[in-house]
């Protein structure tokens, strides 16, 4: 058995006995075999001394048990790290930021407490996954949709608290933004409900976000100030129909109008779904077949092809320089009108072409839902994303996981070009070649995410180089005004460091709140760069 840092074996044993009394002996894990299951499977420090380790895990089944565990941990000064489903792979998984912490595993708290079809809301516990809620909704034939991130086994609560995102219409795909009401256990075991939940017997906990007084919810996302044990969400009412279509443009300069029109349609709520700007010419479209040999040859031309050469190829072969898939939710008539209107707008780009895409009417049978290849825009959870980097006919050497560098950039063609230019030049200078989806993703409204991926390997030298590149990208991005939205524990301090306005006032403020709510500093030390007083370093 390993003991957390700064805790004696005697005190730890006392705490473990109290944990066992609180949750039952079989739900306290201390053996090497069991605690190893809590290591981050996608750790960029795999096999190195910095790889995070776990001293024990405690798995309560109720809010009362969580409160007892927190009181015990607070009394004995035991570092605690809550996880929900523990499947936040690429962002730390089930491992703590501070090595030696006891993981508070909330997977057993897996009750779907309410799904209100009329108001399109739900209330769930942290162990409920997207798969769980999806299955429940289908089983009960409810006319609501979930919005899921790439991996369907994630927790609604965990993903929302980490400010994850999905693929259906705004605002539902902003998972934190679409939550409504929380129940939170504080470090000392106190219990708080936010929003209308603070009013005993409130009838609108999952309907009205703000309640009365300061809005506290944000404090519990990407932080370490409480253990969220219940959370409400707004669900999307099942539409009658879904329709998609692709806009294709053929000149380099068309990107400017393409993005401007897309931004207008999004802000005006005419096209509200997640999408990405693609370049079939430069990179190939998402899930597209491999490019023609002539295009491979053109892309590989020494010194790179000229814009004129690329445009000529685009025209000759009907290969778009840029393209965007638009997705619409509503009725057959409504989505047809939205698509028609979008085409009118994009027709301002000379030579623009339009391709009709998928059309579905709902409800779908189980078989029809399963047959759909692009499930996420329809709120159908899957694990397809793990094909990326996994073994396949085109990838005989699978990786051991991945991490993502995802700075937020403005929603403009200028920003896309600048980001591409800056990172392309840097990669050349550094001699690196990250995995790429080097094209902007419209996960959140009014901004683009640029996503660069790094594989996790079993070779410490490759992992070290990738970490080094990641660290350099954080600084380079920040120098240009682009910041990360979310990250793995290995990079939390570095990213918090670049959010440095007014001598790191954001971090200093978070630390003051941390000291007030968790004076013993037991809860999720280091998460998102916020450390308790006794572990605080000057990391500027």
């Amino acid at each position: 058995m390993r003991v957390p840092p700064n805790v004696t074996t005697k005190v730890f044993n006392e705490a473990l006995r109290s944990f066992e009394a609180a949750v039952g002996k079989s739900w306290v894990f201390t053996s090497e075999e069991d605690t190893a299951l809590y290591k981050d499977a996608y750790s960029p420090f795999f096999g190195e001394p910095e790889e995070r380790w776990v001293s024990a895990a405690v798995a309560p089944a109720t809010v009362d048990e969580v409160r007892q565990v927190m009181r015990i941990a607070n009394q004995h000064r035991i570092p605690i790290y809550p996880i929900s489903t523990g499947r936040n792979l690429g962002y730390g998984g089930s491992a703590p930021v501070y090595s030696g912490s006891v993981v508070l595993d909330l997977k057993r708290m897996n009750r779907i407490l309410e799904v209100n079809e009329t108001n399109a809301t739900c209330l769930v516990e942290p162990g409920v996954s997207y798969f769980d809620l999806y299955r429940y909704i289908r089983e009960h034939k409810l006319k609501v949709w979930i919005d899921c991130p790439d991996p369907g086994w994630g927790s609604l609560i965990g993903n929302a608290l980490d400010r994850g995102n999905g693929y259906t219409m705004a605002p539902y795909r902003d998972h934190f933004g679409s939550h409504c009401g929380m129940e939170v256990v504080l470090a000392d075991g106190d219990l708080v409900r936010t929003g209308m939940g603070a009013l005993p017997g409130a009838k609108t906990w999952q309907q009205f976000k703000y309640g009365f007084g300061p809005y506290l919810d944000g404090l519990f996302s990407q932080s370490n100030l409480g253990v969220v044990t219940k959370m409400g969400f707004w669900l999307m009412p099942q539409p009658d129909a879904f329709r998609s279509g692709t806009v294709c443009v053929y000149k380099y300069a068309d990107l400017f109008k393409l993005v401007d029109i897309l931004a207008y349609l999004e802000a005006a709520k005419i096209m509200t779904a997640m999408t990405r700007v693609e370049s079939p010419l430069l990179y190939g479209a998402f899930k597209a077949p491999p490019p023609a040999p002539e295009l491979i040859e053109l892309r590989a031309k020494p010194g790179g092809p000229t814009v004129a050469e690329l445009e000529a190829y685009a025209q000759q072969t009907d290969t778009p320089y840029w393209s965007v898939i638009l997705r619409f939710y509503g009725s057959a008539k409504l989505t047809a009108a939205q698509w028609e209107y979008a085409q009118e707008k994009f027709s301002a780009i000379p030579g623009a072409k339009f391709r009709d895409g998928d059309f579905y009417e709902f409800p779908l049978s189980d078989a029809a839902a399963e047959a759909i290849m692009d499930k996420a825009p329809l709120g159908i959870p899957s694990l397809e994303a793990f094909s990326m980097g996994g073994r396949s006919p085109v990838n005989p050497s699978p990786s051991q996981g991945h991490i993502w560098f995802s700075p937020i950039i403005p929603m403009s063609a200028e920003a896309i070009h600048e980001c591409d230019r800056v990172f392309r030049a840097a990669f050349k200078e550094w001699g690196v070649n990250p995995l790429g989806l080097p094209l902007p993703q419209l996960y959140h409204e009014r901004t683009f995410f640029q996503i660069y991926g790094f594989p996790i390997t079993r070779d410490p030298e490759i992992n070290r180089k990738n970490r080094e590149t990641f660290q350099r990208m954080i600084k380079l991005a920040a120098d240009h005004g682009w910041g990360e939205y979310r990250t793995a524990p290995a990079f939390m301090d570095s990213i918090m460091d670049v959010y440095s306005f007014n001598d790191h006032a954001l971090r200093r403020t978070c630390e003051r709140v941390k000291d007030a709510l968790d004076p013993n500093g037991i809860l999720s030390a280091g998460r998102y760069g916020i450390w308790p007083k006794h572990l605080r370093k000057n990391t500027q």
Binding site: G86, R87, K107, F386, G390
Partner: protein, 109 residues
Amino acid sequence: MNKWSYCVIGSLLVATAHADSAALAGKRVFDQWCWSCHGPGPDKPGTLGLDAKYQGTVPALLEQRRDLNPATVKYFVRNGVFMMAPFRKTEITDAELDALAAYLSHQKR
């Protein structure tokens, strides 16, 4: 038929029923935890990976394999492999893992 025959038949029926219910429990675990990666279809990364690995020499679908034994199943569930992360005991308990291992090994009969 004497009373011993009845007893033997009765025992066999009980054993079969027990095996069936164990298989059902294992199938439930498979459907809950494994199917999304190892079910049929081109969007199942586990199936895609095993298909690419074995090139048809063994079935890509775990439920169609005849060569799995409980120890192998348990090893991969608790250790993971490549992109597949291990499963904790709060996700798949030891008892559920026994049922899953029996179910996937049961296929060979």
